[in-house]
Symmetry: C2
Subunit: 210 residues, 2 copies
Amino acid sequence: MQLYDYFRSSAAYRVRIVANLKGIELEQVPVNLVKGEQRSDTHLSRNAQGLVPTLVTNDGECLTQSLAICEYLEECFPEPALLPSDPIARARVRALCQVIACEIHPLNNLRVLKHLTGELGLSDDNKLAWYRHWVRLGFDAVEAMLDASSDFCHGDNPTLADVCLVPQVFNAERFECDLGPYPRIRTVTERARALDAFAGAAPGKQADAI
Amino acid sequence: MQLYDYFRSSAAYRVRIVANLKGIELEQVPVNLVKGEQRSDTHLSRNAQGLVPTLVTNDGECLTQSLAICEYLEECFPEPALLPSDPIARARVRALCQVIACEIHPLNNLRVLKHLTGELGLSDDNKLAWYRHWVRLGFDAVEAMLDASSDFCHGDNPTLADVCLVPQVFNAERFECDLGPYPRIRTVTERARALDAFAGAAPGKQADAI
């Protein structure tokens, strides 16, 4: 399978972690978002939104949207399970994923930041304040939802919630957000980052990293 | 089960459609977002983000994030299925859901619009342009992803993709977005709206509608 990827995309980073945790070999094909390669006709034919990641299966199917791809990999490669078996627990893990993937990340991704400073003429300081505002609201909720007695976001093994959290913390650090108020988030993140599957998926470890 | 709800919340609207399609009785408890009831301590104890919907199960578990709730209902009440059985098809339906739930709706929900006109001092015209911009980008992708030969977003029965699309079209119409370029979206939406499950979940049909 091929993963159309960009080292700094936190959505692609999620898929890289899942592949590593499950031992799935992916051929990574970099798409340089800063150079605008995502807007080429070839890329748009694989991903109508012009985003990364896209997963191309061995049958040539193009799958888009990182969480849909993660659920696909979970269904096709069930071990190790990244969702619990109990429906209530699955809902809790998915809710944690969605606080990050629906309420923080979409407000702070590259195209939104460009729109703020471009079309809306916001200053870099205002852009930074915007970024940190949505991280703060989202992380306030994630921190409240985490259980201090668990090693990871849910229970004592990584789930899709950790797969979403670690890339979001990477982004928050890059934009120098204050993580002081989030001891549970920091503890879980450090524990996850110590695992090879998470460490090997980090942006700085990718072939296209600059 | 209880659904903490607001008639105009398109995330809650998704859950109402799923419940109707599956014949699940929910006791609806309105939370007036305009009056700020979502920020009360009682509501925050059920939903750390201070958002709707929250689903409270018969065991008193509080589930948040609309797509996590929809997947929970799909797992516990499997008929009629709102996700296909084939993993590739499931990924496609989930990707359609996420284009809407991760890339359109979070940029345009009430708290973001308030932040734009409040903290950032944007005019109402600029707010409207922002709203329509993200609807246009998202609907361009959804339109390209739909198959003209299907009755619904995927195949000939409603799936979670239609559950996400119909409330998003309702919002787009409310903000007078131009839906001319989206014949597939319009056709699918009209077909879904003709079903009782969708019609009964519409904002105007809820007890708290004003």
